[in-house]
């Protein structure tokens, strides 16, 4: 780059960028401070305040968090698994087949990019009730499993793969399914990773729809469990609530810190298309 700010300009910008960054991270720092210190230090900052894990112990014992963790893990894995299969098949159809009604169907798929499932929560609740699966993990996952975003993303990717590769595989006697699995899927690996990260972080964090369809410990994901815990079980012991909040977020946050580059690149890859 040739076009650069002057030295004072750069210094000013650097300072501004760092002030913003500190502002941005401060709430989290504060949450960690509260969670890792005894209650009396919740709002008192003393460098030598004793560290403690007691808040985490108390939170863990006060609500069935292990069950919530289990539910969320199963939920996220189930949604991602089904999404990958359904979106791959649909994207392949859109990218490589000419069939009657294809363009209309594609527009109908894109409708979901505008009208996300939570907007339709009242009607979808009825459907789940009619299917007799209220308060189960599949009920939380079903509206999201045919992801328009995933179909769109994979279709764009499949379209960039040269059809000569497919022709070569066909000459060697591969059938349509084999071609999909041996040619298309391997070449789209980075896009699959991107989609997986976006999907996992979305569904780990999703709240409103799970809140509506669940009403027992057996199906509640972490987010809803956390909400029930902090609004009912606790008075206003912020130290424990903050500890619970950090605890439920930790797996995703740790994964993010470890694979920061992949996360950011995945979100970028998903955003460009």
């Amino acid at each position: 780059m040739v076009l650069q700010p002057s030295r004072t300009g750069l210094a000013l910008e650097t300072a501004a960028a760092w002030v913003l960054a500190v502002l941005w991270i401060l709430p989290l720092f504060y949450a960690f401070w509260t969670a890792f210190h005894p209650t009396e230090f919740a709002t008192r900052f003393q460098l030598l305040a004793p560290l403690s894990l007691q808040n985490f112990r108390n939170a863990w014992d006060a609500a069935p968090f292990s069950r919530y963790f289990f539910n969320t893990t199963v939920l996220v894995a189930m949604i991602l698994g089904v999404q990958l299969v359904l979106c791959t098949l649909a994207a392949y159809a859109f990218a490589r087949y000419t069939f009657w009604g294809r363009d209309v169907m594609f527009i109908l798929v894109l409708v979901q990019l505008m009208i996300k499932p939570e907007v339709l929560l009242v009607e979808n609740y009825r459907t789940m009730s009619a299917l007799g699966i209220l308060d189960t993990l599949p009920a939380i996952g079903l509206p999201y499993m045919a992801s328009a975003f995933g179909i769109f993303l994979l279709r764009q990717t499949f379209k960039t793969i040269p059809s000569e590769l497919e022709d070569a595989a066909r000459v060697e006697g591969a059938n349509a399914l084999q071609i999909l699995l041996k040619v298309y899927v391997p070449l789209a690996k980075p896009v699959y990773l991107a989609f997986a990260l976006v999907s996992v972080s979305f569904h780990w964090n999703n709240f409103l729809w799970p809140l509506v369809v669940t009403n027992s410990v057996h199906s509640r994901p972490l987010t809803v469990g956390l909400q029930v815990f902090s609004s009912v079980d606790q008075g206003i012991d912020w130290s424990i609530i903050t500890a619970a909040t950090i605890m439920t977020t930790a797996p995703l946050l740790i994964a993010f810190l470890l694979f920061q580059r992949q996360f950011v690149q995945s979100f970028m890859r998903a955003g460009i298309r």
């Binding site: 941005w24 009242v122 950090i246």
Partner: protein, 296 residues
């Protein structure tokens, strides 16, 4: 001829078979509910032994006379106007900084992006604590300066602004990513050419960078608007729409009507408003967005 026909027939069958599983779920949980919501908005909510009957436009009439509906709609508009321009502006600034030559930019990126990864409900819990009267963070800071105590979330005047701050904090880093992706695809030749021409950095930004980022801005804008109608987790956790509906947003009101008052017919009419707004947004996007950029 017949071989050609049968090949086309097979392609049709294969195409549809591949699409079918996804199509079934999409129809069941996106298209059918839209139609069902539309139809249900003309019927009454079944109560006890009385079933659902056709009531024409009664639900819509009720809606027009419902001050809470108008309040939620206005709140939503204020929330969108308060959140979107600032978070998009900050996102652009963040992206330019992270993409530039500033020291420690990977740390900056980490700081900006981290709130995006957190669940909204966790974010809401943390901020709820900040806003708490008497011993929340803001109270402590303000009381140190001798400012009298103020219940930020308990006051009609400040509650929506509090939610807006949280939403900006959560979303700016997310939108930054889209700008960052666009900036990284820009050719460095442009900057070199501008430097040879003797353009200032600001001129370059205004005349070259900003116009080139226009498709990204529109894309981000559309998503930001959708989000402002869709993300009401904060409201559930922090205010429950209160005080006195001052922080109720449209989807939150739908949730209340549907699952607290169990008035599914009225909720359907309210949902139609939300769907109409989203449809208008889709039309607007179709008209204004250069479709070649995003939908090849």
């Amino acid at each position: 001829m017949s071989a050609h026909h049968s090949r086309r027939f097979i392609a049709n069958v294969h195409g549809w078979l591949l699409l079918l599983p996804a199509a079934v779920l999409l129809v069941l949980f996106t298209h059918y509910p839209v139609i069902a919501t539309f139809l249900r908005s003309f019927f009454s909510t079944p109560k006890g032994a009385r079933g659902s009957v056709f009531v024409g436009l009664d639900n819509y009439r009720q809606m027009i006379e419902d001050p809470i509906f108008w309040q939620a709609l206005t709140n939503n508009a204020f929330f969108a106007v308060g959140t979107i321009p600032i978070s998009i502006g900050l996102a652009l600034l963040m992206a330019i900084w992270v993409n530039g030559r500033i020291a420690g930019k990977s740390w900056l990126r980490l700081a900006y992006f981290t709130p995006t990864v957190l669940p909204m409900i966790a974010v809401a819990n943390i901020w709820l604590f900040f806003y708490t009267p008497q011993y929340g963070l803001f109270e402590q800071i303000l009381s140190a300066f001798g400012v009298p105590s103020h219940n930020f979330l308990g006051s009609k005047d400040t509650v929506l602004a509090c939610l807006i701050v949280v939403a900006i904090w959560k979303e700016a880093g997310f939108f930054m990513i889209f700008y960052l992706a666009a900036l990284q695809q820009m050719s460095p030749n442009l900057a070199e050419a501008a430097a040879i021409e003797g353009a200032s950095r600001w001129t370059f930004f205004r005349r070259v960078t900003l116009p080139l980022l226009m498709p990204t801005t529109l894309f981000v804008l559309v998503n930001a608007i959708i989000n402002s109608f869709r993300l009401v987790d904060y409201v559930v956790v922090m205010t429950r729409g209160g005080p006195d509906n001052a922080s109720s947003l449209l989807l939150y009101y739908i949730y209340e009507v549907g699952f607290k008052f169990w008035d599914s017919a009225y909720a359907a009419a309210l949902t139609m408003v939300l769907l109409l707004l989203l449809a208008l947004l889709a039309v607007g996007q179709f008209l204004f967005m250069d479709r070649k950029v995003h939908y090849r």
